[in-house]
């Protein structure tokens, strides 16, 4: 008998809201979270805008000592985890702790802490180096701190696959439960890299938009005048749970996760590849088909996909490549379904993007509303699909994909399905 996996809790902190409710409301209203960078002086920087988290003081939400010694990427992850676990009603205790895992991804980890401690080292010398230097920036401290907070003693690891990390983490969590290595997994991603080093470095790659005025117009996926992504920050966390256990404890079920695939371009460090992205989408649909068939709900074809939450970064390369990959994988069906990009509003959350966008995808399925792609005013002729321009759309969505692609050639695609009791 196949072990099925459902989402029973969600939590998020994003540039347009520090809770899931606020995030979803603003997303559906097409509100941009992009503004001028406040974290540091951008006078010498080409790019002066980002999608920052607003009005969040970690000391209001976390134990003082914990907040003091940890990086913002951990603050965000713990804040989103608290929301998700509370939302799920899950209690972690001696009875289940060994089968509760944590798989959380990040692209860059505790970079602001790294930069601060390294500046201190160069300024004051090795004898004045903080004992918290290492623990503040290691990427794996994110799931480590979550497990300490929850008492979760099951499988625990960090996924570091750049902009695919959040999706890979949720997919790996799904696999862990399917293979009976865990009953519950806290999955997701976090990122806090709006710091001078990252803005300068991403800008040097030509990845960031420098359309600083007005900031809210800079992120424009699939638009002819797009010129790079806008750096964002935040975290998205979901509680994935084995179906029978979730039903037994009467948990609310948001959606079922039925498919996951990940592969590698094996091609170039930053240039995406149509062929492997397309292959990844096909493999994810095959995986969803196996899950569905094995659980007595019939097979799934590519034409059963109702919606795609796109990676949609607003770079020249990504948006054309992703469009071609969707056409190759879905054929003519790609032209018939809505596809939208959350990044038009929240910017690119790097390692958190796939997780926050998975939450958006889950809520689209649950609420039958597709958030728009904003700033899509003049379509790129090479991006000729239905990107839900500028206004949210009501539509029943049964099966949806969420795409994530990362530097290094990492591709990850998740497939979610509407939960109705009759398919249990």
């Amino acid at each position: 008998m196949i072990r099925r996996v459902v989402i029973t809790g969600i939590g998020a902190i994003t540039p347009i809201g520090n809770s899931v409710g606020e995030f979803w409301r603003e997303l559906c209203q097409g509100k941009s979270g992009v503004s001028e960078i406040t974290r540091f002086d951008t006078s010498d920087y080409r790019t002066k805008i980002a999608a920052e988290i607003k009005d969040f003081n970690p000391y209001d939400h976390l134990d003082y000592e914990l907040a003091r010694r940890t990086d913002p990427c951990i603050h965000y992850a713990l804040h989103a985890t608290k929301q998700a676990v509370e939302d799920s009603g899950l209690i972690v205790d001696d009875n289940n702790a060994d089968k509760v895992g944590v798989i959380v991804g990040t692209s860059i980890g505790g970079i602001s802490s790294y930069d601060r401690h390294r500046d201190n080292l160069l300024r004051r010398g090795p004898a004045k180096t903080s004992p918290y230097f290492i623990t503040s920036f290691l990427a794996n401290m994110v799931p480590g701190e979550i497990s300490i907070m929850l008492g979760a003693k099951g499988p625990n690891k960090c996924v570091v696959t750049a902009c695919a990390a959040g999706a890979n983490a949720i997919g790996d969590a799904f696999d862990l439960i399917k293979s009976n290595k865990a009953d519950v997994v806290i999955g997701g991603g976090t990122e806090a890299s709006i710091v001078p080093s990252c803005v300068a470095a991403l800008s040097a790659m030509g990845a960031l938009s420098a359309s600083n005025d007005p900031p809210e117009k800079a992120s424009r996926p699939f638009d002819r005048n797009r010129n790079g992504f806008v750096l964002g920050e935040g975290a998205g966390i979901v509680v994935l749970e084995e179906l029978s256990q979730a039903k037994e404890r009467g948990a609310r079920i948001y959606a079922e996760i039925i498919g996951y695939a990940h592969n590698s371009d094996a091609h170039h460090i930053t240039e995406p590849s149509v062929m492997t992205q397309s292959k990844c989408i096909e493999l994810a649909i095959e995986d969803a088909c196996r899950t569905s068939f094995a659980s007595g709900n019939g097979i799934i074809h590519k034409w059963d996909i109702d919606y795609v939450n796109a990676h949609g970064t607003s770079t020249k390369w990504n948006d054309i490549t992703e469009t071609k990959a969707l056409k190759l994988a879905l054929g003519g069906h790609a032209c018939e379904i809505p596809i939208s990009s959350n990044k038009s509003m929240i910017g690119h959350l790097l390692g958190a993007a796939g997780a926050v966008e998975a939450i958006s995808t889950i809520l689209t399925i649950k609420n039958s509303i597709i958030p728009p792609t904003i700033n899509l005013e003049d379509s790129d002729p090479e991006c000729d699909l239905d990107y839900v321009p500028n206004a949210a759309r009501e539509k029943e969505v049964n099966i949806a994909l969420s795409n994530s692609f990362g530097f290094g050639g990492h591709n990850a695609v998740l497939v979610f399905r509407k939960w109705v009791d009759t398919n249990g």
Binding site: D63, Y64, E65, R68, R69, K128, S130, P131, Y132
Partner: protein
């Protein structure tokens, strides 16, 4: 005597360093015989952090290999240790 280096001054300055590290809620009222490890739950990393803070606050050096410092457990012992180091600085 340098200003701010009486036993009471050192105690108060040390208390502020501990509050900055642990938070006012956890520290609350501390007494001379409060144990850093047992009462305030300092772990090995936390003690190193406090040592660095003391070096800056009192402009002293605390070598990691100093056996006397290893024995410090209560706040009073820490005050005495800082006093000793301040005395060494004056010489």
């Amino acid at each position: 005597m340098i200003e701010g280096t009486t036993g009471e001054d050192i105690f108060e300055r040390l208390r502020k360093l501990i509050v900055r590290q642990k938070g006012i809620e956890k520290v609350g009222e501390v007494a001379p015989n409060t144990s850093l490890r047992k009462d305030l739950e300092f772990d090995s990393l936390g003690l190193v952090d406090l040592t660095l803070a003391c070096e800056d606050e009192f402009a002293i050096e605390i070598p990691p290999e100093d056996g006397d410092f290893e024995k410090v457990d209560t706040i009073q012992e820490a005050v005495s240790y800082v006093k000793k180091r301040l005395g060494m600085r004056e010489q």
